[in-house]
């Protein structure tokens, strides 16, 4: 095991220091963690999932099942990271995982001894007695033994972002086929994006010693990349994985912007998620090698043949001192020759085939490689591989090797073609699944389509690139494809060495053996999906890239059906695992969702407000003063101030919709349960609107500003929903109505002035000559005026608090000035700013319904709004609101409550039970919706929905709140506690 002193695509002038399990090691720029480990003779890298068997490096790419490590430390620890795709950087720190106490000595390896009973289905058959022992005893042990790496339970310190991309042609993979496809489409003038998961373009050309146009393939790669980079209509994304194909040509990509560094560069993200919309896509993802299954095939030192070739050619790292090859195809022979040419010692090629092309045999002899035809590896030896047993016609022979390169043929990387549900189809000629139905707009080129030869890949890439461009109207002469040798793969299907000794692993990461497949077959789990779910075949972090096909093939041999009949499980996104943070982008912490401040936010901040989230809004909850013990004392002071003097609050968050046109009245009559066409200009009316199913959707006041113009107010929460509903009514239900809508919620700041002294304050805010007296501006009136010296304003005489009240609306940028002006004007009256808590208290004292009552489950009659409903017209929801259950007298209806024991506290969410009735569902009579401490009454009050409520006023009922330990009696009363006649608001 050593690093060759020449060759490879590493930069020997840039050594990089790293550590694995605390050992200081070194590699070169251009290495992966895996190649650097191999070059340093580190062959034991991980432990398997179930039996904790020692494992090494099996592959050279994203299909790696074994070499998983915990990369980085602290908050940046990344469990289950494939060493084979981890670009080496200076200072890299990695640790092995899923072992205790150490990688070399893992106590949980004892599971291996239990293998005979721990086979497929084991867990389902036991651990059932006693029932209680599962959570307490068995499961905790199983959970600790299972899992792989350990997550850092600390916030991810890195940043992620998303980006949108658009192109004519997206090329997936920058190997020979992908490069030719990209070049051809780009030359024709199409906007091209080419993405490759590797940090170095070229794909297989980086791993093979092939020639293109008579020169080393690298030169072709460099020249092609140079031309692509020079074109303004091309974007090249390296270190970028296309992980999913979504609808209408939308593709998900992850660009690893900073993963090849110890930390992301300043102001750059760790990873960037691309959402790319492509009119066409060309999948040129190549093919992956698959193993042959035989006894002890998981021993560290056993490796895929093309991976072996990759380490030798690309990384100049020879994985073993003495290597044998075990294969069923010609490609592995060429891998062996490459290895020999690079100076590796290749002992023998064991091929299951009884004959191979003489050219291969001759070359093998030239390299002094022993040829064993018709041979099979039946067992291996050593903790790290020290020998293999080969069965031939003449018997069993042991070869002393520390490296075994294996190959059972190739599987095209068809994953992305399956993301719309398409199933791959079996191609007998190459013994592999090739793309079946593909997503619209996607074509497949090169080895991913089962065309393995290099010349074929180049030509196919060119053809698919031309075709995609031409489809989109880009004409360009393709020219001739570069020349290269194809080299036959010549696979003879072979899956499993029947004479294996020792466990023969199909899925190495999940420790699924050939025996497990037999068990599944024996117990009737024979469909590929049942096989997968029963044995966990293909469910590991590699999603079975090296194991699925072999597993299916073994099952097929057991059922006697062909592989084509057996079929394969479906590949789902993502192609390789994707960091959850990347899919979230910058939407985390306080930036999870937008924060909407009100127009007076800065003023409220200065005034010492405590803020509260109400949906996306931040609103002033209350304005505490020094010395106040708790929020209740503050809120009580604010309410008292309003009821006895005057207060002000920002109510800008209510939705405001401007309606204009000849038919506004008609529209509102069909939308509200009550009448609005009859509303006089300059007047305001409270209205309630229903969903078509008869349930209340929203309520609010709507003002008539002119003959053809109304202004609707919605609740804060339903602003968008109501606007959408109105558009639905106008565009879908009644397109003949001539009404134009505009949301003016953002345009207007609105401040409520409430309390007996409200008018006196308002007089000082409006400009000279503006009359706000009762005669011109009575209760439920509206005027357009100017305030603060020429600022345009609308003044509504409405009241949520039940006091004499006005709401003054000014353009949003004037909101803060208005707040200050109102405070100044109110100084003499000790005006008090109040928050939404005090507002809530006063609306409960008045019995006004709010979000807690408008919960989408209540009809107008339930809320005491029944009498508002017109009987002379149709309106949305009227018919459905007439259904029997809506007229059920037992239906919970809104009433008020006060505690029999005046000191008792009420709590929303408590349920009502008849006095002396048992506490069970049969006697549940409703629940408390809203509560408040009423300063006016000096005790807690509540609103609630109670069966037959209005008929039971004066009665008592039990308020049952077991979840907070509450159980008291209350008296049922009318839902208006303060000024039920409404004298104050007309003052």
């Amino acid at each position: 095991m050593s690093r060759l002193d020449q060759g490879g695509l590493i930069d020997r002038s840039r050594p990089l220091a790293f550590s694995f399990d605390g050992r200081a090691l070194s590699g070169f720029a251009g290495d992966t963690l895996a190649s650097a480990l191999l070059a340093q003779g580190e062959t034991l890298v991980g432990r398997s999932f179930k039996y904790h068997r020692p494992r090494g490096i099996f592959a050279a790419g994203s299909d790696e099942p074994n070499a998983l490590v915990e990369l980085r430390t602290g908050a940046r620890r990344e469990p289950n990271t494939r060493a084979t795709v981890t670009e080496l950087y200076d200072g890299l720190v990695a640790h092995s995982q899923n072992r205790w106490p150490s990688l070399g000595f893992d106590l949980l390896a004892v599971n291996g001894l239990l293998a005979p009973i721990l086979g497929a289905g084991f867990y389902y058959k036991t651990f059932m007695w006693p029932a209680a022992a599962w959570e307490k005893l068995y499961e905790p042990i199983i959970r600790r033994a299972a899992g792989l790496g350990t997550a850092a339970a600390l916030p991810d310190p890195d940043h992620y972002e998303k980006a949108h991309g658009f192109c004519d042609v997206l090329v997936v993979g920058a190997g020979p086929a992908g490069l030719m496809a990209a070049l051809t489409a780009a030359r024709a003038g199409a906007r091209v994006i080419v993405a490759d998961e590797d940090f170095r373009p070229g794909g297989r050309l980086n791993a093979e010693r092939s020639e293109i146009d008579g020169a080393p393939a690298r030169m072709f790669v460099d020249a092609t990349m140079a031309e692509l980079s020079s074109l303004s209509n091309v974007r090249i994304l390296l270190r970028t994985t296309v992980f999913g194909v979504y609808d209408t040509g939308t593709y998900g990509l992850i660009e690893r912007v900073g993963d090849h560094l110890a930390e992301p560069a300043p102001h750059r993200p760790r990873q960037r998620m691309w959402k790319i919309v492509a009119r066409r896509a060309i999948l040129a993802a190549g093919a992956a090698e698959r193993p042959i299954v035989f006894g002890g095939n998981d021993r560290p030192g056993v490796m895929l043949a093309q991976a072996f070739r990759t380490y030798v050619n690309r990384y100049a790292a020879v994985p073993a001192d003495r290597t044998a090859f075990f294969a069923n195809n010609d490609a592995s022979w060429r891998a062996a020759f490459d290895a020999a040419a690079a100076g590796a010692q290749v002992q023998a090629i064991v091929d299951v085939r009884s004959a191979v092309a003489s050219a291969l045999a001759d070359e093998a002899r030239r390299w002094g490689i022993r040829i064993i035809l018709g041979g099979q590896v039946v067992a291996t030896e050593g903790k790290r591989l020290s020998g293999i047993e080969v069965a031939t016609a003449t018997g069993i022979e042991t070869l002393a090797v520390d490296g075994l390169a294996i190959s059972g043929g190739f599987s095209p990387n068809v994953h992305l073609t399956c993301h719309h549900g398409g199933r791959p189809v079996w191609d007998e000629a190459i013994a592999a699944f090739v793309p079946g139905a593909v997503p619209p707009g996607l074509t497949v080129a090169g080895a991913a389509a089962g065309r393995y030869g290099l010349a074929a890949c180049l030509a196919d890439g060119m053809a698919k690139g031309t075709e995609a461009a031409r489809d989109l109207g880009f004409e360009g002469s393709a020219g001739a494809a570069p020349r290269a040798d194809d080299g036959d793969t010549a696979v003879e299907p072979f899956w499993y060495v029947a004479a294996s000794r020792g466990p023969a692993f199909v899925d190495q990461q999940n420790d699924v053996t050939a025996k497990d497949v037999k068990i599944a077959h024996g117990e009737g789990f024979r469909s590929v999906e049942h096989l997968k779910r029963y044995t966990t075949l293909g469910m590991a972090t590699d999603q079975g890239k090296t194991s699925n096909v072999t597993g299916m093939a073994i099952m097929a041999s057991l059922t006697g059906r062909s592989i084509a009949q057996t079929g394969t499980t479906i590949f789902r996104p993502p192609y390789t695992p994707v960091a959850i943070g990347a899919l979230a982008g910058h939407h985390r912490g306080k930036d999870f969702r937008p924060t909407r401040p009100t127009p007076t936010h800065a003023w409220a901040e200065a005034a010492g407000a405590v803020f509260i989230e109400t949906g996306p809004w931040l609103r002033a909850q209350y304005f505490p003063r020094p010395g106040e013990r708790d929020w209740l004392e503050t809120v009580t002071r604010e309410v008292t101030a309003v009821r006895s003097g005057v207060g002000m609050i920002d109510v800008s968050t209510f939705g405001k919709i401007d309606l204009q046109g000849p038919d506004v009245g008609a529209l509102l009559d069909r939308v509200y349960i009550n009448n609005f066409s009859s509303l006089a200009v300059g007047k305001v009316r409270y209205g309630a609107m229903l969903r078509e199913d008869g349930i209340v959707m929203d309520d609010g006041t709507t003002a008539r500003l002119g003959e053809r113009r109304y202004l609707m107010t919605t609740t804060t929460a339903n602003a968008a929903k109501v606007y959408q509903h109105l558009e639905f009514c106008l565009q879908v239900l009644w397109p003949d109505l001539d009404v134009q809508l505009a949301s003016v919620s953002e345009q207007w700041a609105q401040i409520a002035i409430a309390g007996p002294r409200a008018r006196e304050v308002l007089r000082k805010v409006v400009d000279a000559g503006v009359d706000v007296e009762n005669a011109t501006l009575p209760y439920m009136g509206v005027i357009e005026a100017t305030v603060m010296g020429g600022v345009r304003a609308r003044i509504f005489r409405v009241s949520f608090s039940g006091e004499l009240g006005y709401e003054v609306a000014v353009p949003a940028r004037q909101g803060e000035a208005l707040a200050r002006a109102v405070m100044a004007a109110g100084q003499d009256f000790a005006i008090t700013p109040y928050g939404i808590e005090a507002l809530g208290v006063m609306r409960i004292e008045k019995g006004h319904v709010s979000g807690a009552e408008l919960n989408g489950q209540t009809a107008a009659a339930d809320l005491g709004l029944g009498r508002m409903a017109s009987t002379k017209k149709d309106y949305v929801g009227r018919t459905m609101a007439g259904r029997p259950a809506f007229r059920d007298p037992d239906r919970p209806t809104l009433v008020g409550f006060k505690p029999v024991d005046g000191t008792a506290r009420l709590r929303a969410g408590a349920h009502f039970l008849g006095i002396g009735q048992p506490a069970d569902l049969a006697h549940d009579e409703g629940y408390m919706t809203s509560v408040a401490f009423s300063p006016a009454l000096g005790h807690w009050i509540g609103l609630g929905l109670l069966a037959r409520g209005p008929a039971r006023i004066g009665e008592r009922v039990r308020v049952y709140d077991p979840i907070r330990g509450g159980d008291i009696e209350v008296e049922i009363c009318a839902p208006a506690f303060v000024d039920p006649e409404g004298v104050r608001l007309r003052a």
């Binding site: 469990p79 009973i117 086979g119 289905g121 792989l148 009737g524 979230a584 912490g589 979000g851 259904r883």
Partner: protein, 416 residues
Amino acid sequence: MGYSVFSILADACRRHSVWTPAWRDAAPKPAYDVIVVGGGGHGLATAYYLAKEHGIRNVAVLEKGWIGSGNAGRNTTIIRSNYLLPGNEPFYEWSMKLWEGLEQDLNYNAMVSQRGVLNLFHSDAQRDAYARRGNAMILSGADAELLDVGQVRALYPFLDFDNGRFPIQGGLLQRRGGTARHDAVVWGYARAADRLGVDIVQNCEVIGFLRENGAVVGVETSRGPIRAGKVGLAVAGSSSRVAGLAGLRLPIESHVLQAFVSEGLKPLIPGVITFGAGHFYISQSDKGGLVFGGDIDGYNSYAQRGNLPTIEDVCEGGMALMPAIGRLRLLRHWGGLVDMSMDGSPIIDRTPLDGLYLNAGWCYGGFKATPASGWCFAWTLAKDEPHRLNAAYRLDRFATGALIDEKGVGAQPNLH
């Protein structure tokens, strides 16, 4: 041979395993007393309880693919009975009680794990709504606790308590809630039903109904006609299509619900957590994968796959709730075909057609209901009337107005 640690040891000592198929891969007979259409959890449970509770054993379960190939095999495995409304809570609490004895009943370890289900709240209004819910649960004999933020922090110290856009104020905890191994539930019911004589017929798609003067007397299938005294539908997302074969229109839309699993990890998340300020819930399987999900995509679909906006929304919720999962990797995501009803609650009832019975409308919550759904559907099939527990799940409730709308969003399935 029954399943036990002894039988396993016995089998391990033999050279060749003697385990026989968990259920017979039966061929359809010409006629049955009852045909249950749909070899998912609900259908198989229905057949099991028909045989076990009502002695009706001449029963076939017809599955168009392989059993458990629908939502039973693609859900996020959560079991709970934390419902709000009187029509729902007793049913789901009965389901929870059946879960608690399921493995001994079936002689199959479905890995029912009562690890606790925690629904977080982020405002006073949400707290009161959860108090209302928790009280309703207690009134129905279920368990519920209202936790303050300190108690939540003690359970899940790595949630974002300090920098959250919508600060966590507490949560509603049902300790008896948890998870179960979804495939094992299917296989356990299949094996137990098979042992009571039920025929489980795979690769047998219903393509029509046999009718005699209006009544349904059997089904036409891809494997020929099969007569039956009664036919029960338990086909989830395919309910409208199959009922349509009998000329019925249902108050149901089929939508796609996506689910997600991460790479395997050592134990990180002990129970089930639901974010109250976004669409995200999560638990960790015994294998170590984080199993999570969120909202439905929101449009009618039979495609069994979703799109990026929902995936992003779910992961944004996850990062907002627990920023520690940023570097953990999504391993696989997939879509299920869910039968969204018009009020978000299920239907277990007779239909206007004699001989045809319906079990549908489970929305995204069918898995937890599996035992009670089978139990109640079996009762309804056997006795021709609903049990008290499914009395509210009537098909005509949309006409009478006796809706069961937990979310309060009305007749818009994509909002439930």
